[in-house]
Every structure is written in structure tokens, then in C-alpha cells.
Subunit: 265 residues, 2 copies
């Protein structure tokens, strides 16, 4: 089954669009875990086990694993294999390169690591996305409207009437022949999000920015009532607890978010 | 000494602007090396030794190393340490992410791996580049005008009069307070390259696209007579030979390119 079909099925089964963001920051990992040699693997694995019942996907931010070098890459591969089958996996790698290089990135992430979906940067154009697009059973979230303030001077270029992010969204709709494309559209920009949703009514969205970045979960869910979406939330779940019971605290935080979400689903 | 000063000094010392692209593709590595267990390290190390006298930098394309998983990342770290001090190192990682994630990418590449420079994708805006910019002694090449055909529909948006790539180039010039920024500007687009060079007369350029991608070395060098540039060339050097003497062949190919370049320097 293709990625977005699975996503839709899991959404209905689990009454959730929650995607837990696995962003393991050394400084924030509870001291009780950090003392262990395999703290990175242990921390992430226990968070995954505790939150899996409430989410439909895990998003792994590659930056946080690359910060640990080759060891981080090894842990990433092991974690990928430890995700239960009732959750999807998103590689938040934001790769973007041309031809042969893009093929190598796509192979590394979608074949060797075997992630179900990946985030991709469109600045190099859609020929650069093709090696990813060709994996028709995998999902591809193309950066469109990101949640950080500085993104506006690029993504809104040249003006509000015809911003780059809309141009990209429309082109993604055109090239989406395998129905395996979605967009990254931040929950922190409700005005632009509304414009985007009108322009491309069918594209699934990965909607970061809820929680620590200031986006409201209610606004995000109201903006996209009948759409295939994933709402990644990281810090407020994975660092919910600081003691021995950190995984339990993460599970509770994920459960509370799932319960909040199901009112809209 | 800061990156671009070193680059300028090496250019004068070695009469070269050649940057050898280390893109180790399993299919293209000579069979005689591929038989060895440590073929990836051996191949790259011998290419580096043979070509170092003729180039002033090595550019490591992360896609090709990530294709080998954690082992590839380990080899990348070892290769970085094996580059002689009379050559600079460029991490061709094309990373782009926001806030905390960007900080982790920057730390991984510029601190832990200790590369001298890195390529960065500007689609997320310049706040996303800041963690890289803050390493004032390191070099930052921001993607601007890439060498692939499909890039045009994004980078020339919305039209020829005010294309996105020019907007980005001008903004890079403004934010370049540490004088540690350059642009990636492909040698395959001489018309746009000329426009770019007029708009930002002082920014250094990393100019891919010469050789296998169809760009002409002469056109590229004539376009930027008095500028700090780096010309990365990969395939026609590192795969110049297929037999036992593959490293010698790579050295000869690099030497021929350096001799060709010095006419313009």
C-alpha cells in the first residue's frame, strides 16, 4: 500500500494525526539516561515505545543524529527498525541535490534506511526531486511554507499576489503523478496556510510549528478539515519529563494531544 | 586565517582554482579497488594523495558517503583528517533547516567533522543560515544558480527581470558581515552567470558544472577574471583511470586541468 493510503488508514484506526518528532538533543535528554553509554538509543527507543499507541508516525530529524557522527547514523538505522508496524516513519532530512547525488540521497534514505517518507527541498527544481518521486510507494513532503520567520523573504518572493511558495505548491500538484507528494506547510502562518489550502485542495500536508514554535493546534486542525495531514510535535512530548519516568510522561503528553486532536477528526 | 583569505593565498601559491570533487560512486570505483574490504577509504585516500599538488580544495559530496550508511560517515571523518594542510575542505552537504536543527547540522559539519566550508540551501531563509554564518572563520557557499536544467523554474521565478537567484545573491551580499559567504553558481548558465557577476561583484563563487555536466572551463574562467573562485571537478578526474594506475591517472588529469587554469590566473 502506498504511503498516503496507509496514512489515511492509520488516521481512521487510531483517531490521530499526531507524528512524534524524534529530535534527540544531548542537552535536553534527562540526566538519568545521559549517564548510560547507549543513552541516545535508549532515550529514543523508550520514547517510541511509550508514544506509539497515540501517534501514526515518527519523524526523525537527521540534524540531531548527524550531531553524533557515525554513531548517530547507526542509532538512526536501529531506531528505524524498532518502529512498530502501526506507525509510519518520516525521514526529516530536507535533502536537495541534483541528478546522481539526489539518487544517492534517495537510495540511502528510502532503500537502505527504508524510511516510509522523506522531506525534500525544492530550491534545485523538480528534476532534483525525481529520484525521490520515482519511489512511488514512499511519501515525499516537499518544503513549501516553513514555520520560521526568516522564510518569508524567500518563500513570499516577489510579493503577496504570486509568492514562490504558491508557485511551488501548484507545480507539486502537477508533478504528483504517483500521488506520493505532500507539502511541508507550517502551522505558524495561518493566513498563508489558508491561501495554500485553497490553491491545492488535495495535497497532504506535514504541518510543523505547533507547540514550541508558537503555532496553535486548533488553528492548524481547523484550517484543514478534510485533508490528509500529519502534525509533527517534538519538544512538548519527548522532553515532557526529566526523571526516571520520562517515557511515561512522554506517553501521557502524546495521549493528551491525540485526545485533543480526535475532536476534529 | 579566515576561509576566503586562505583560499586566495593558496590560489596564488599553487596557481590553481581547482577543487577536486570526491564523489565515490560504487559502480564507478575501479574493480581492482572494489575487491578490497576498505575500498571506499582506499579509493578516496589515493585520489586525494595523487591530486593534492594540483588543487587547492577537496569537495566531499555527502550523498555519496551517506549511501554507505554509518560506515560511509566514518570514512568521511577519516578522509577529512587525511587532507594535507595545503588544501581546503568543502562539505557539499546542501543542508537547510531552521533554528535548533540548523545549529546541529552546523556543529556536525564545521565542528565535529571540522570542514573548512559547507554548502547551504537558502530556501528556508537567512535565519536558517545564521548558525553556519556564526562560524566566522569557516566558509559558507549558499546555493544560488545551480547547474541542472530543472533549477530554472524555481531560481528564475517569477521572470528574467527579477529572478529569485538575483534576490538571493543580493541578500547574501547584505548579510555577509563576517566576509565568510560565497555563492554556488553553475558554469552551465553563462548568461545568468554574467548577470549574477554584475550584481554581486565581490562575492566568491563555487562553480560546479564544468566537464561532465557540459559547462566549459574557459567560459567559466573568462566570466570571472578577478574573483575568488573555486571550480569543482569530479568525474573527469577521479574516474580518469580504471586500472591499477587509477590514482596516477587522476593525478595527471588534475595536473592538466591546473595547467589549463593557470593561463587565466
Amino acid at each position: 500500500m502506498a504511503f498516503f493510503e496507509k496514512l489515511n488508514e492509520l488516521k481512521a484506526q487510531k483517531n490521530s494525526v499526531l507524528c512524534v518528532g524524534i529530535d534527540p538533543d544531548y542537552e535536553k535528554i534527562p540526566a538519568v539516561v545521559r549517564r548510560q553509554d547507549d543513552f541516545l538509543l535508549t532515550f529514543c527507543q523508550r520514547i517510541i515505545e511509550a508514544t506509539a499507541p497515540y501517534c501514526i508516525a515518527f519523524k526523525f530529524n537527521f540534524a540531531f543524529f548527524e550531531a553524533f557522527g557515525a554513531a548517530g547514523w547507526e542509532v538512526l538505522a536501529r531506531l528505524r527498525r524498532s518502529v512498530p508496524p502501526h506507525c509510519l516513519t518520516v525521514a526529516d532530512a530536507k535533502r536537495g541535490d541534483i541528478g546522481n547525488s539526489a539518487r544517492h540521497y534517495a537510495g540511502a534514505i528510502l532503500e537502505h534506511l527504508d524510511f516510509d517518507a522523506v522531506t525534500v527541498n525544492p530550491y534545485l527544481g523538480f528534476d532534483a526531486c525525481e529520484p525521490f518521486l520515482n519511489y512511488s510507494e514512499k511519501g515525499l513532503f516537499i518544503l513549501c511554507l516553513t514555520s520560521n520567520p526568516g522564510a518569508r523573504e524567500i518563500q513570499d518572493y516577489p510579493d503577496r499576489d504570486a509568492p514562490l511558495f504558491l508557485h511551488i505548491a501548484r507545480r507539486v500538484q502537477e508533478i504528483n503523478i504517483h500521488k506520493n507528494c505532500g507539502l511541508v506547510a507550517g502551522a505558524t502562518k495561518p493566513d498563508q496556510l489558508r491561501v495554500l489550502c485553497e490553491a491545492v485542495p488535495d495535497l497532504p500536508l506535514l504541518m510543523p510549528g505547533v507547540g514550541a514554535q508558537g503555532g496553535s493546534l486548533d488553528d492548524a486542525l481547523q484550517a484543514v478539515p478534510h485533508r490528509n495531514i500529519l502534525v509533527p510535535i517534538s519538544r512538548s512530548i519527548i522532553y515532557a519529563g526529566e526523571g526516571e519516568d520520562f517515557a511515561e510522561a512522554a506517553g501521557k503528553a502524546a495521549q493528551a494531544l491525540q485526545q485533543h486532536m480526535q475532536r476534529y477528526l
